[in-house]
Amino acid sequence: MIWAWGALAFWALATAGNVWLAQNHARNRAVRLVIPALFGATLLLLWEGMVRGLGVSPVILPPPSMIGARIAQSLPILWTDFNQTILKGALSGYFIGCAAAVAVAVVIDRSPFLQRGLLPVGNFVAALPIVGIAPILVMWFGFDWQSKAAVVVVMVFFPVLVNMVAGLKATDALQRDQMATWSASYWQGLLKLRLPAAMPFLFNGLKIATTLALIGAIVAEFFGSPTRGMGFRISTAVGQLDLPLVWAEIAVAALAGSAFYGLVAVIERGVTFWHPSQRGRA
């Protein structure tokens, strides 16, 4: 019981501290980092305290310390799964899908007819439960990472396509007229004006696609996979009620997802440094 009360007391203290900090030092940059960090720590501690204090079985919800120990203990397994699912399945699918979407966007950008036809269809498909095609693609491409990459390709394609087409239209008439007075060819106009102008939109799509890529790769493994991979490990460990291992995989997936997103965001900052949303954050 001491654990539970201790956690509750810490929660109250931390909340009071956060309220005080937010009211008195909200402008301080360090405080802006401390407050969410404190909140996160509170959640972890509350979780630990409640699980220990109320005697929740680790089969239902293991405490964070147990998950941490499990991560340290099964690093080789986690690395194999990470390699299989993220590096092979998600990343290769992400690159193929995004490259294909950008290429298709540039092609259909030349034809207003195709745009009017493809964009509504693309928007429609983007709202569909695309993960559902996972069983079909697993049948076509086999159990290994190729089928996972195929699922990821289909999942990331439409969000990136829709954003890229919008981005290619983002230049205004004045800018295009300027290129015309310089007698720029189509390709010069594309490379020097419209592709750079499309970058903020493209990166918007790329960032959405990072999460989708991980989801696609992991969920596709529920339909069949070799005996490694994060989705495989999650579904088998759940079957064995080895919940700490499941949570360890989830922690890895969360870290990988945030790191992937962060990486794309950093590249975005480098590429679109001129855009108003990026200025003044250097």
């Binding site: 969410p36 009017r116 993960v131 559902g132 999460t211 991980l214």
Partner: protein
């Protein structure tokens, strides 16, 4: 209206491509069968056979439509277990499975949306909540939450919660974050001028909320509702994947993939797509009506 022709062209092109792919992908099997039987097959034989296999690699569109018709109208009206014969939906019909998925989706969506709006109200009015919670809410969008869906189902089943609720929890979780982030943006949409005007009227916090913040957040609400309901449906379908779930479109997908019933998979997929499109469209219609009444036609 002028985009009808292009859309039809694209859809037609997709159907043509689909038929082409059907012939291409299924031809191997036909040739193998013919070689085993020692028969010579011509192009017309291949064409006829590839479009009518019972377990094709890729079923032709008309096979999928036929299966959809068979497993909805025919099953319910004429089937031995259909609603006409027994008074309850047949467990072999997609209407039954679609209803199971839809009810969990709607329950989760309602909870997720309600919670998201409530939390957004809290965040807009409390600086401490904003500063401690928002970074995590945004960061959590980069986490592949969907991947833990099966675990939630199994863990809740082990403490005795089964059926609708676990799936609804996943759906709620997935629709919660888009609504939260969208509504925080929406409640902050009024600019300083408008807020200052209400201050000169000596409006209370509640008055400002009801008369200014809430109305100006409505467009944001509907934008995030559309994302949220699609996410809720995906969450429910993935939640139905773990073995043991016997009803729902996700279970239908999984059993189809176990037994190699490709036509069944595609029919379930098409049903899910129709459901998703229908839900998003309903939200869109409500959006147009509400915004029209408020004089903010989108």
């Amino acid at each position: 209206m002028k985009s009808v022709l292009p859309i039809l062209t694209v859809v037609l092109a997709i159907v043509v491509l689909w038929y082409g792919a059907t012939v291409g992908l299924n031809a191997q099997w036909t040739r193998d069968q013919a070689a085993r039987a020692g028969v010579e097959v011509g192009f017309s034989d291949i064409l006829r056979d590839t479009l009518s296999q019972t377990r094709p690699k890729l079923p032709a569109p008309h096979q999928v439509v036929a299966e959809l018709w068979q497993s909805t109208w025919m099953e319910e009206v004429y089937g031995r277990r259909g609603i006409v014969q027994t008074g309850s939906l047949s467990n072999r019909s997609l209407i039954y499975h679609g209803w199971v998925t839809l009810s969990a989706t709607m329950l989760g969506f309602a909870f997720g949306t309600g919670l998201g709006i409530l939390l957004a109200i809290g965040i807009v009015h409390s600086k401490a909540m904003d500063m401690s919670f928002m970074p995590w809410a945004i960061a959590s969008q980069t986490v592949p939450i969907l991947a833990i869906a099966p675990m939630v189902i199994v863990v809740l089943a082990s403490i005795g919660i089964k059926g609708l609720i676990p799936k609804a929890i996943i759906a709620a979780y997935l629709s919660f974050f888009p609504v939260l982030v969208g509504m925080v943006k929406g409640f902050r949409a009024p600019d300083t001028m408008q807020l200052d005007l209400l201050k000169t009227y000596n409006a209370s916090r509640a008055g400002t909320f009801w008369r200014l913040r809430l109305p100006s957040s409505v467009p944001y609400l509907f934008a995030s509702l559309k994302v949220g309901i699609a996410a809720a449906l995906v969450g429910t379908i993935v939640g139905e994947l773990p073995a043991g779930a016997s009803a729902g479109l996700g279970a239908r997908l999984l059993s189809g993939s176990y037994y190699g019933q490709t036509i069944q998979i595609w029919a379930a997929l098409l049903a899910a797509a129709t459901l998703a499109a229908g839900l998003v469209m309903i939200v869109g219609v409500i959006e147009r009506a509400v915004l029209g009444r408020m004089g903010m036609r989108a």
